[in-house]
Symmetry: C2
Subunit: 204 residues, 2 copies
């Protein structure tokens, strides 16, 4: 039922942060005020956001950390693992493999490259595969996410190919604005854009 309620985008963004706060908490209960102070936001807003959840707080006590975390984990679906492929066998691919995404319920199952000469090389524990076998690998592992790490000039074409072959969501590190069919999920991780934010803030 909770899923049927519309969750405002701004609330959704904050729910991710609350989850992070809860992870860092050792106490069994936490108040909206504590959460708000930590994130430097208004405690009213925290309570309002939680009103979209099933979870109820206790007056004078606060929210049950464990219960709240469970509901958020459920909302984000971190308890069922989603399989991810990495496309582009380079330093960025290596970096992604070195990070631990198990807390988000994401597991890397294969690494691909568009260049034939890289096929067979190892990136971490993964032998690089060629895109010819993409569809087979997607089906075999039920891979839904692709981290797109290819060069800018290959970004658009590769992304389309991934969606055609069954990938549901592209985690786009290329910095290129992707134009994909209706329904395809794209989440941009544009590092250059972040640097622009920093540069702008530095000027003040």
């Amino acid at each position: 039922m909770a899923e049927m309620i519309h969750l405002p985008r701004s609330t959704f963004e904050r729910l991710k942060m609350y989850r992070k706060v809860l992870e860092a908490t050792k106490k069994p209960y936490i108040s909206s005020d504590e959460i708000a102070r930590f994130l430097e936001i208004n405690p009213d807003l925290v309570r309002k956001d939680f009103s979209y959840l099933k979870c109820q707080g206790k007056p004078r006590v606060g929210y049950d950390v464990e219960e709240l975390r469970k509901e958020l984990d459920d909302l984000f679906g971190v308890n069922n693992t989603t399989n991810m492929i990495i496309v582009g066998a380079n330093d960025l691919a290596r970096a992604l493999l070195s990070l631990d995404f198990s807390k988000a319920g994401v597991k890397v199952v294969a690494v691909f490259d568009t260049e034939k000469e890289n096929v067979g090389k190892f990136i971490g524990e993964f032998a690089v595969r060629e895109l010819d076998v993409l569809e087979r690998v997607i089906r075999r592992f039920d891979a839904e996410i692709a981290a797109l790490c290819v060069s800018k000039d290959r970004a658009q074409a590769t992304a389309r190919f991934l969606i055609e072959k069954g990938i549901k969501a592209v985690w786009n590190f290329t910095g290129v604005h992707l134009d994909l069919p209706e329904g395809a999920i794209v989440v941009d991780e544009d590092l250059t854009q972040s640097l622009l934010t920093i540069k702008h803030l530095l000027k003040k």
Copy 2:
């Protein structure tokens, strides 16, 4: 003067996207409608955003791409190079070095690590330095940004140390919520949070 006008956060975020659109444009003029279609937003919003800039469009013609880009480059300050250090000599550091941030006016000038045993090793063309010489390096290169790539358990302490020694902005890849002195700039690049967004969208 334009700097003195308050720029809404939402407008700022879109200005970065407009810049990206302009980069991909070959024509000398572009209309608010073309930009809006590309980004799947309302053209009225594009014009409203541009009203915060000095740049004026021409009825029946659109906006001068070159002129607009110049103003945005100015706003973000990409024409004067800002020096950046990377802290944490690992795969992520290597990945950042492999990317080209010159378009954002950012240049890496040194790589550091908290572990003495990594000092002297090479990450790309950079010999890894120890944090003892941080202050000297910051002064010598006038480094203002630090990309924080250390492990979670060292994140908070290292970030504070960086700010103490003169770093103005922390580009935080650790996923840890940093608590830093008033005035310190933090921009979070939390990959796990992005995956939560993807996982949530996949459930629909």
